[in-house]
């Protein structure tokens, strides 16, 4: 049966009915039912969550678990944001599978990896909340039906394998169960509901939102204005601004319209801009990450990103087609790889690196079939054929592969010191190769928060009633986010924000 997603206002009669139902259900007296609104609001809740990705769903569900009456609004016609289309890879320090596989890991080790990746810019107090929260968040999503693959993966920049990936290889494997759990538990969820502005009390507390219901992205003037009150808090979980070409290129002029993005079209950053407009502290807004695994032959995140993440980079090599030679550690973190790739410009035009692996390497590449079908993954019967197919010097390329195979056998990459735990000797045709070019992927910067997910103003004080979690916040990831840590951040801080909001002293509206 399709879930009953409420997309319209509840009539006064329904409100009274809802109130009666809550009384019959014996809900905690401290959490009042949605009340008939005074002149100011069309409807009043305890907590309003803006967005519908990992952080938003975690916040809404966690607040609801505390007995709060929760509204979640999403401006797009589907729930999930970027979370629903990401690779579903969750960095967990101390997962059951790591223990079973004999992998020694800990929050302390993950903290070190994240600090190193962030080039020293990370806010360590925020990082600690994330690394301590990954195992509890993992157990929590599993309890709501999320399923992970039966092996631990090793992503660039992590010192040990710690990536748990959904069986679907997409974040939808997490957002769908969490959205269903929200609905089942009574979170009210509206699609096509665009947050227009905060409503604040005279003392500056955020007490509600002006929302445009019936909004049709990206038509600014579509929809009907509605006001919602939030007794305990508003949680902003609106994601990043990778699709806002104007704003991202203000932070980094290299990120102009010539660079595609892996993001969904709604990742335009209005939620962040609204918080900045009421005095939220901007944190590290120019730290914008490019995904090094994307293909210039397809739009957005596409099919190649997953192929490279699970097959090409850990089990293959990436070469400069002008020389046939490797030019970086294929498992370095994203910033290092993207920066190296972006140096490959000749006469103002990109020279797309070629990443490839062999038949053994593609065993777990779920997007291989579609990648071949849509012409973004290319199949070759020999190393020489790859070289000819991409106009590379044949002898140099074949020699490079032989050299790399020697490193694999010796378990020592003398070229770039890449960890070779997952690497394989590249010797079994057919081979599968792709073009590579980075795309704007993640905004490490955002609004400032504290470890309780309270939004900080430019003087460092919490803005009462306002919380934020996930990619819309700044500080945790510093200069470069590690793969698998967006889900970690979104789920961990989403849970914190939901709990903080639900626990806030309510105001009378």
């Amino acid at each position: 049966m399709k879930k009953n997603i409420i997309q319209k206002e509840t009539s006064r009669r329904s409100l009274i009915k809802a109130g009666a139902a809550v009384i019959c259900a014996g809900a905690a007296a401290s959490h009042a039912a949605p009340a008939p609104a005074k002149a100011r609001f069309d409807k009043i809740y305890d907590v309003i969550v803006v967005g519908s990705g990992f952080a938003a769903l975690a916040a809404a569900l966690r607040a609801r678990e505390q007995g709060a009456h929760v509204l979640l609004i999403e401006k797009m016609p589907a729930f999930g944001g970027n979370s629903a289309i990401n690779g579903g890879a969750f960095a967990v320090a101390g997962s059951p599978l790591q223990e079973k596989s004999g992998i020694k890991d800990s929050p302390e080790l993950m903290l070190k990896d994240m600090i190193r990746s962030g080039r020293g810019l990370s806010h360590v107090d925020l990082l600690k909340m994330i690394v301590e929260g990954t195992r509890p968040a993992f157990d929590w999503v599993v309890s709501y039906g999320v399923k992970f693959k039966p092996f631990v993966q090793h992503f660039g920049g992590h010192s040990v394998p710690r990536i748990m990936q959904t069986v679907e290889s997409t974040g939808g494997g997490i957002t769908r169960p969490l959205a269903e759990a929200c609905l089942k538990k009574g979170v009210e969820m509206h699609r096509r509901a665009m947050m227009r502005d905060f409503i604040r009390s005279a003392d500056g507390r955020v007490i509600g939102l002006k929302v445009r219901e019936g909004y049709i992205f990206p038509k600014e003037d579509s929809g009907v204005d509605v006001t919602y009150g939030a007794r305990r808090g508003v949680v902003m979980a609106t994601g990043g601004f990778s699709r806002n070409i104007w704003f991202r290129s203000q932070q980094d002029p290299l990120l102009d319209s010539r660079l595609d993005s892996t993001n969904q079209p709604g990742a335009t950053g209005e939620g962040l801009l609204k918080m900045l407009a009421i005095g939220g502290a901007p944190v590290q807004l120019d730290q914008i990450q490019l995904g090094p695994w994307s293909s210039p032959e397809e739009k957005g995140f596409g099919l190649v990103s997953q192929f490279n993440t699970i097959a090409g980079f850990p089990m293959g090599i990436m070469v400069d087609p002008r020389t046939g030679r490797r030019f970086c550690n294929e498992l370095a973190d994203r910033k290092e790889r993207a920066d190296k790739i972006l140096t490959m410009i000749e006469n103002g035009k990109p020279v797309y690196p070629i990443c490839f692996t062999d038949t053994k390497g593609v065993a777990k590449a779920q997007t291989l079939k579609n990648g071949l079908k849509y012409g973004v993954i290319h199949k070759f019967d020999s190393l020489e054929a790859i070289a000819r197919g991409f106009h590379m010097p044949v002898e140099a390329f074949v020699a490079q592969v032989k050299e790399f195979n020697g490193y694999v056998r010796a378990k020592d990459d003398k070229q770039f010191h890449r960890p070779l735990q997952l690497a394989i000797v590249l010797d079994k045709p057919p081979f599968y190769a792709v073009k590579v070019w980075p795309k704007v992927h993640y905004c490490m910067g955002g609004v400032g928060i504290n470890p309780k997910a309270e939004v900080l103003d430019v003087m460092g004080r919490p803005i009462p009633g306002l919380f934020a979690a996930g990619e819309v916040t700044g500080g945790a990831h510093g200069a470069s986010r590690l793969g698998g840590c967006a889900i970690a951040d979104g789920l961990c801080f989403g849970r914190i924000a939901g709990l903080s909001a639900a626990s806030s002293t309510p105001v009378d509206l």
Binding site: G214, Q264, K299
Partner: protein, 121 residues
Amino acid sequence: MMKKQMLAAMSAAVLGAFALNAWAAPAVPMGAHHAKMKCETCHTKDNAVKGNAFVPPSDKTCEGCHGSYAALAKKTAGGSEPNPHYSAHYGESLSCSACHRQHEKPQSYCNNCHDFRHKMP
């Protein structure tokens, strides 16, 4: 011609029945199938926001005539392209009108990221 005029008159009557405060129905003609129907087939009172019915209808309205999302997913499974009515990203949470727009050309939401070759009515 007669049908168009009647439709225009009907639209005017319906428009007059609602207080338009923030948004007006687009003037673009709708798909051939729904053009034969009354505005309120989709723009029902239940779908109205603060009395304004001319907002995207709830999926329940579409499903009322076309069948449930799950039934449609079954119907369109097994084609040469991925199932447009089910994906691992959205399940059933992608609104019908995300793709099936009635006052504009249809547009595959999947193709914001993919290059599928779905044929859309």
